[in-house]
């Protein structure tokens, strides 16, 4: 009869796993994201502050021209290892609208640590008008909102290898996945860029955003497209899931507690039931 439990368990795992719902067949992306090594992968993986700082620099100097990051406040940058003064100074580079003042007028002032990153466009319509009709999405949640279907059997295996980096893998693959040579069976509309890693088509409106040596990093990291794509993907994972480090640290304590508790309960159970045939 223990057999039944095992079988039910196996069936349950199969069902759960199917779960992800996931697996709905989809033609895009044409190419699956390429898996990268992330400092934050695995049960003990944590964010690499230096990498997040480089990612912030890339966002601030490139991406922010078109993409908002409205769910991140400057104060959140403390997670990246910046001091209060550094954050204040950084925030002061940005202007935010405030008001109304005593005369009922809106005015601009330098941002403070309490403000969110200002968005590049006042609204979606303005963003579309400036970008040939395409809307550059807010990047705050991108690393969780774009996670291409894993397909069978990957999604069954994922829980066992604790693979949860589909989002940053996707962003990295997209940023480094632009191809000049378009396959013959693909037609790329005027003004779009071919990218087989794009989640919802063969081409997207965003031009390849990263170029060799476009940045200089204080820590001497080489500004290759691949390095920069990785840094900004890691940064976006942090913007999407700022409490991941805390989550995994607490998780470890919870798991240790539960496993020790389970072992003690198992021994107690054995002891109690040893008095009776069952």
């Amino acid at each position: 009869m223990k057999n039944l439990v095992v079988k039910l368990g196996a069936a349950a795992i199969a069902v759960t796993v199917m779960a992800t719902g996931a697996w709905a067949a989809s033609a895009y992306p044409k190419n699956k994201p390429r898996e990268q090594d992330w400092s934050f992968a695995g049960p003990f993986g944590m964010y690499d502050q230096a990498q997040l700082q480089r990612g912030l620099k890339i966002y601030a100097e490139n991406c922010s021209a078109c993409h908002a990051l409205s769910r991140i406040n400057f104060r959140n940058l403390a997670d990246l290892g910046y001091s209060d003064d550094q954050i204040k100074a950084f925030a002061a580079n940005y202007e935010v609208e405030d008001g109304p003042d005593d005369f009922g007028d809106m005015f601009f002032r330098p941002a403070t640590a309490a403000d969110a990153f200002p968005s590049p466009f006042p609204n979606q319509e303005a963003a579309r008008a400036a970008n040939g009709g395409a809307y550059p999405p807010d990047l705050s949640l991108m690393a969780k909102a774009r996670a291409p279907i894993r397909g069978f059997p990957a999604f069954v295996i994922d829980p066992f290898r604790n693979y949860a980096e589909n989002g940053p893998d996707y962003i990295y693959s997209l940023l480094t996945g632009y191809k000049d040579e378009v396959p013959e069976d693909v037609s790329v509309p005027e003004g779009l860029w071919y990218n087989p890693y794009f989640a919802s088509g063969t081409a997207l409106a965003m031009a390849p955003p990263l170029f060799e040596d476009m940045h200089e990093f204080d820590d001497g990291t080489e500004a290759t497209v691949s390095n920069m794509a990785k840094d900004v993907s890691a940064f976006l994972m942090w913007t999407a899931e700022p409490h991941m480090d805390e989550r995994k640290q607490l998780g470890f304590r919870v798991m240790v507690f539960l496993l020790i508790f389970a072992a003690l309960l198992y021994l107690s159970k054995k002891q109690v039931w040893s008095r009776v045939e069952h």
């Binding site: 009869m1 349950a12 009776v276």
Partner: protein
């Protein structure tokens, strides 16, 4: 009456205990229900999910109450308020991930609980009402989960609500008014979100109420057990505490460890990426797929692609989907077998596993687009689903030759341990009687 008398063993020792016992004997009720209550000695781990489910109901209510303190049921603010919980509320991410993954594990446990009931024939007389109360709980859970999924107001929330409330329009005359009542308008919007939030807060307490009835009914009839034989003598049972308590506790902690793994290490594995995109009525997601626990029913809904007389394909699909749950309610009367447990029913056992595999397969089909070969497979799979209840259950009871059923639980236990080299001579004497077949 084969049921063991188990009341009256509680004797309050303190003055306060006696005072309360004479006025409102709640401690006595608790003692009789969770300490002295006799349970069959041969319960296996498949019988631990009832306890696990009650704990999950508590987890969901507690985390839910905290989430509701910070959540804003307003179409323009709901998504932001959930992100506020995830980012700025102390331990908000923990509450949210526990609640979200808690729903998945709640369903996982309830499915294991239901499958266990089907396998061991737990629904048979005199436990029909117990089973039906369980079906009502399941139905309430589905409604609660659906409405809860709408609250974060992501793309899948919005479009899931649109699709599911759309089912009701299939019914002639009353369909559209029902849909408009659910939505509070002509399309999913602010009024929908507000009433779903209200109901999502209400239904768990209704579930808790029905759970009390479910446990009450259980304690009247007593638990079934893997042999399906009713308790006949005192040697068949052990007291709930410490025996069942410690076993349930162990199973619970193991189950919680798996749950915790997902909460802390893969919190978004069971969800949809699209639900991290704020709801946009102007953009339909490429694939609108429900959560995994609804997928088999979604497959049944979409399997009916043909008109049946005056019934349109759409209405047929909705009827089949509701029917697939309704059929659970009449299971006690569909099964004609005199033998309760599948352990002694070789054919039923086989069909049971076909049913389980088919249910999983239906779930997979539910996640696939309803086109091409998937439609035919879904139709076949739907036929097997209903065939199990409407054909196999009634017919098998009449034609199947069950294996020999032991005379008592004690006999079954001792036969088994004798087979595995153990055995207690002391108790063995009591069951040396009759091997009939």
């Amino acid at each position: 009456m084969s049921k063991l008398e188990h009341h009256g063993t509680y004797t309050p020792t303190t003055g306060v205990g006696k005072w309360i016992d004479a006025r409102m004997p709640l401690p006595r009720l608790m003692y009789d229900s969770f300490v002295a209550y006799p349970v069959p000695r041969n319960l296996n781990y498949a019988y631990t999910f009832g306890g696990i489910l009650s704990i999950f109901l508590v987890i969901q209510i507690l985390t839910g109450v905290v989430l509701a303190m910070h959540y804003v049921p307003d179409a323009t603010k709901a998504f932001d308020s959930v992100e506020h919980i995830m980012r700025d509320v102390n331990s908000g991410w923990l509450m949210r991930y526990m609640h979200q993954n808690g729903a998945h594990f709640f369903f996982l446990a309830v499915y294991l609980h239901i499958f266990r009931g089907l396998y061991y024939g737990s629904y048979k007389a005199p436990r029909e009402l117990l089973w039906i109360l369980g079906c009502i709980i399941y139905l309430l859970m589905m409604a609660t989960a659906f409405m809860g999924y709408v609250l974060p107001w992501g793309q899948m929330s919005f479009w899931g609500a649109t699709v599911i409330t759309g089912f009701f329009t299939a019914f002639p005359v009353i369909g559209v008014p029902i849909q408009e009542l659910l939505l509070g308008g002509f399309a999913v919007g602010d009024p929908t979100l507000n009433r779903f939030f209200s109901l999502h807060y209400l239904l768990p307490f209704m579930i808790a109420g029905v759970v009390i009835l479910h446990v009450w009914a259980l304690h009247v009839t007593g638990q079934t057990n893997p042999t399906g034989i009713e308790v006949k003598s005192k040697t068949d049972t052990v007291p709930f505490t410490p025996y069942a308590t410690i076993k349930d506790a162990f199973a619970l902690i193991v189950f919680l460890a798996v749950y915790a793994y997902f909460v802390f290490y893969m919190p978004n594995f069971l969800g949809h990426a699209d639900n991290y995109i704020p709801a946009d009525p102007m953009v339909t997601p490429a694939h609108i797929v429900p959560e995994w626990y609804f997928l088999p029913f979604y497959a049944i809904l979409r399997a009916i692609t043909f008109d049946i007389g005056p019934i349109s394909a759409k209405l047929g699909g909705v009827i089949a989907m509701f029917g697939s749950i309704a059929v659970l309610f009449i299971v006690p009367w569909l099964d004609t077998s005199k033998v309760r447990s599948a352990v002694y029913r070789p054919w039923f056992k086989l069909f049971f596993w076909v049913f389980v595999i088919n249910s999983v397969f239906l779930g997979w089909l539910g996640s696939q687009p309803a086109e091409g070969v998937y439609v035919a497979l879904a139709q076949l799979s739907t036929a097997i689903y209903f065939g199990f209840f409407l054909v196999v259950m009634p017919v098998l009871g009449l034609v199947e030759k069950p294996r020999r059923v032991p005379n008592s639980i004690t006999e079954a236990v001792l036969e088994r341990s004798a087979g595995s080299g153990g055995g207690s001579p002391q108790l063995g004497d009591a069951t040396a009687s009759a091997d009939k077949s």
